[in-house]
């Protein structure tokens, strides 16, 4: 194999890959602070560009048109998706991208097998083993991510099969995929005539079985657990890349793949921890969003105080300190700009105003921070759970907008609830709490929220964006 740079010693390629690996690491290190994070992302992208460039120039390209067309089409689609998608739809977009990466790994492994066969060489055990691993992980990642993205986007529903039947099906297709993998390794000719047809049937059986497995794995999981699933699948796709690196003796694949594997795994664990659930429970515990037919009416009956934007503005005028707690509803309603405007007004009028941001508010880690940053809220106004919780007792007014589970006191009191033990924002310690959501319906975990019935709490029903805008308008009128 010899491309444009093919005359140079192999060490040049290796060294360029090392530089790319260093750029990936440095990029991630820059991600530890918002000030340097943009540069970090660019550094990492530079590493990728370098690695791809040297690869294109190094190896013999028999069909440059095909390659260029692939790069152009992929790049155009990537840019278009990234540019046209709303911030609220980021989670599913990331899931989709991740699926494509996994799918590419599975296809590359297949193409590589076919290529090697085409040259008349025997398939080595090392090659078939890693191809099988990459094929299974890649296919599961592709279909799993597609289902996860679909669920987040609301286009894929819940599993029609019972949990037990589901477990049996998962076992069956896993077995099928593993068997096909073993055949690929031991007798690649099993489904074809010797010499093996270039179609290499056992590999595609493996891919098919793993694809079905991927669907069955993710369909039964509740929509709100999808970020965990996506982080885990991201970790898998990193490990698939690292596995490929082992076969190709490619250092940058090993290092980059392992970094992604670590990142995905750590994010998964952090998310599970802040929801106080085990990974096992997330993956196999059935629907996270399942609604208990609990006696909501009994809890809320006659206990709910409704309020209006006018009343809330009157409250705001006498306060010294306001904390705003945003949740998933703010993302759905795209209310972040209205919220930011309200905060700006309060700030101008000398009110001490901050955000209390729960680690799992929204549907992705850091979801609220990303939205509020989009609306130009200064970094130092966003306070984490541990920082803000001790301040509620000195707070006059808490405005909860589109959040539910993250302010549910049941987590502290009721051991049997699905969120038991999850640390929550203890907003009811403040003098008064206004909760803005569209109805009394529960949040992601499907349980009622006794906060709404508290004496110092009142409900501001309505869409988050509209309600926040109403507050802004009334407040402007009152203060001007």
């Amino acid at each position: 194999m010899a491309g444009v740079l093919g005359g140079l010693p192999e060490a040049v390629l290796q060294f360029t890959y090392l530089v790319a690996a260093v750029l990936f690491i440095q990029g991630l290190r820059d991600m530890t602070h918002p000030r340097t994070a943009t540069r970090g992302n660019a550094t990492s992208a530079g590493g990728m560009f370098l690695a791809v460039l040297v690869t294109v120039l190094w190896f013999e390209i028999l069909s440059p048109v095909v390659l260029a067309a692939g790069l152009l089409v992929g790049g155009a689609v990537g840019v278009w998706l990234a540019v046209s998608v709303e911030t609220t739809e980021m989670p599913q977009l990331v899931g989709l991208f991740n699926g494509f990466g996994g799918g590419a790994s599975a296809l590359v492994a297949g193409a590589e097998l076919i290529d090697v066969l085409g040259t008349g060489t025997q398939l080595s055990v090392g090659l078939t083993t890693t191809a099988a691993i990459a094929g299974i992980i890649g296919s599961v990642t592709f279909w799993g991510s597609l289902v996860a993205a679909g669920k987040l986007h609301g286009v894929v529903g819940d599993s029609p099969v019972s949990p037990n039947a589901g477990h049996a099906l998962k076992g069956l297709f896993l077995l099928l995929a593993v068997l096909a993998g073993l055949f690929l390794i031991v007798r690649p000719d099993i489904f074809g005539q010797p010499p093996v047809t270039p179609w290499l049937p056992s590999y595609w059986v493996l891919v098919a079985a793993a694809s079905v497995l991927g669907v069955f794995l993710v369909v039964p999981i509740g929509g709100a657990d999808m970020p965990v699933v996506i982080a885990l699948l991201n970790s898998y796709s990193g490990l698939a890349a690292a596995t490929t690196g082992f076969v190709l003796d490619n250092t940058v694949l090993i290092i980059a793949g392992t970094l992604v594997g670590a990142s995905g795994l750590i994010l998964t664990v952090i998310m599970c921890d802040s929801m106080n659930r085990s990974l096992r429970n997330v993956l196999f515990g059935g629907l996270g969003g399942e609604t208990e037919s609990e006696d909501m009416d009994e809890i809320y009956e006659g206990q709910i105080t409704e309020t209006s934007p006018e009343e809330v503005v009157m409250l705001m005028e006498t306060t010294q300190r306001v904390v705003i707690v945003p949740g998933y509803g703010m993302a759905v309603a795209q209310a972040q700009h209205a919220v930011a405007e309200l905060v700006g007004l309060l700030d101008e009028n000398g009110v001490d105003v901050e955000f209390g941001i729960h680690p799992v508010a929204g549907r992705m880690p850091g979801h609220m921070n990303a939205l509020l940053a989009e609306a130009d809220v200064p970094y130092e106004k966003m306070r984490e759970l541990e920082e803000v919780n001790p301040t509620f007792s000195q707070t006059d007014l808490v405005i909860v907008t589109g959040a539910n589970d993250v302010v549910n006191p049941k987590a502290n009191t009721d051991d049997s609830s699905p969120i038991a033990g999850m640390p929550v924002l203890n907003v009811s310690e403040a003098r008064s709490v206004v909760v803005n959501k569209r109805s009394l319906s529960p949040g992601f975990s499907g349980i009622p929220n006794p906060l709404f019935a508290k004496d110092n709490a009142s409900m501001l029903f309505g869409d988050a964006k509209e309600s926040m805008q109403a507050l802004v308008n009334h407040y402007k009128e009152e203060t001007s």
Partner: protein, 94 residues
Amino acid sequence: MTFVENLTLFVLAAFVGYEVITKIPTNLHTPLMSGANAISGITLLGSVVVAGSGSTTLATVLGFVAVVMATINVVGGYLVSHFMLAQFSRGGRD
């Protein structure tokens, strides 16, 4: 390289990954997720080789699809993180 040598790289990279990622604050986890996701598109290197040098039509077609998918992952992933982070550096002036 031998298997153990590759394994050594894997182990060291895992330590680096663990130490670096655990230092990243929660509010950057969403851009991290999409940035890491873009890095996992490194499998594009394999796709490039296969698509460019595929000796059979089938391999070339598979390689083409793989290049398209991996490039979407890489380009889209980095762009999405970039947009998110650009907002952070606008908003976060500390």
